[in-house]
Symmetry: C2
Subunit: 233 residues, 2 copies
């Protein structure tokens, strides 16, 4: 899209951010500075700067004196993330419809096509990434940088939420939500589009089990059953 040569900083940042979007880095994963230095061939100065940026995106958690880990949003955080997404993504639809060009429509359709192709070939990482890209690019049409930037962060956080709370046995399956949304935008049907987007986001949140606390990191709850069984058995 943009042929401007990335800076080293930007490149490394994108690599880590993408790994989160594609769930190649999952919540709790430790990010050792020296390892990142080796991987990317830069000094700790650079790596620490990038970790700070990622922590402000709420994608990485910086624990003082204990290093960086991929963030593990709590259930309440996830509710707020999706509440915010509903507010933003529904709220900008008038502008999206207003400013959407034929080129925008085509670009969005391309993303959806690649997304469905990824699903059908079992490419889960690619599918998740493209689903996220769809939402961010759609928001980009609305010409509001602050909102697009926040949505970019929220989409990445949603990826972490999905990794943590997705209901088990939930298989990737093609659905027409995204393509329906593009069609509604292209037709300028803002009201219909808002409705589609609202349902789509509610569906996405409903795929998660936020009621069951399921803090995977809380070892006590993870092993509560076996410990109990052993004590009584």
């Amino acid at each position: 899209m943009n042929g401007q040569p990335e800076t080293t900083d930007e490149w490394i940042y994108d690599q880590v951010f993408s790994a989160v979007l594609e769930q190649r880095l999952i919540p709790g994963a430790k990010l050792r500075e020296s390892e990142l230095c080796e991987v990317f061939g830069v000094s700790r100065t650079i790596i620490r700067r990038i970790l700070l940026r990622l922590s402000l995106d709420k994608v990485v958690e910086l624990r003082p004196n204990k290093g960086a880990v991929i963030a593990t949003p709590a259930a309440e955080d996830v509710r707020q993330i999706f509440a915010a997404r509903r507010l933003l993504e529904i709220g900008i639809i008038d502008e999206v419809c207003k400013y959407c060009t034929a080129a925008n429509t085509q670009s969005l359709k391309d993303i959806v096509a690649r997304e469905n192709s990824a699903i059908q070939t079992g490419n889960r990482s690619g599918a998740i990434r493209l689903a996220g890209e769809f939402h961010v690019r759609l928001a980009g049409v609305a010409r509001n940088k602050p909102i697009q930037e926040l949505l970019r962060q929220l989409v990445a956080q949603s990826s972490l939420a999905l990794a943590l709370y997705e209901a088990p046995g939930h298989l990737l399956c093609v659905d027409d939500d995204h393509i329906d949304i593009v069609d509604a935008v292209a037709a300028g049907e803002a009201a219909k589009c808002r409705d589609l987007m609202a349902r789509h986001l509610e569906k996405a949140e409903a795929e998660m089990r936020l009621d069951a606390p399921a803090e995977n990191n809380d070892l006590k709850s993870v092993f509560a059953e076996v410990i109990e069984a052993r004590a009584t058995g």
Copy 2:
């Protein structure tokens, strides 16, 4: 409000951020690293980290090899800032009304009282700061961290916008917008509150001259008239 001891980082960050909110630092002001080091008694490592954070808030601009300056949002940026604020601040009003406690109401009224007192004593810095704090605290009632955080940034950027584009001869004068909003919230009148907020934000944006480019930092335009007068005179 919260008695937790701030880290040095947080403290310095808040000092600079506050200076922007109070327009003691105005767009274009140079932030020399060595100066900040002396002022706050820390090494450049710390200062550079804080400047990075402020640049991600779009409050500081980091120009490669040329140092940091307070950001000067363009007219289009300001439109987007206020469009985003309308979306957020109107969009969360249902939640604000839903979750607003008596303590919240009192706290908000206190802020408005202090704001009006600042206006009447001619304390411009304090007034601007408290006006901003009102909006951020009101948003805080809605219990959505991502949205409150974005609004916090947008309020700071609004302060820069005001410094750049405020129509000349615009005096500080007490108006009842804020107190009316609090009353509507306390009464649970969400629809009325949305209307009040919409008008309030439109008024704020209208106080600026975004049509006239007016980049104050462009010396050529600042002195264009006198130069022209001298040339022809």
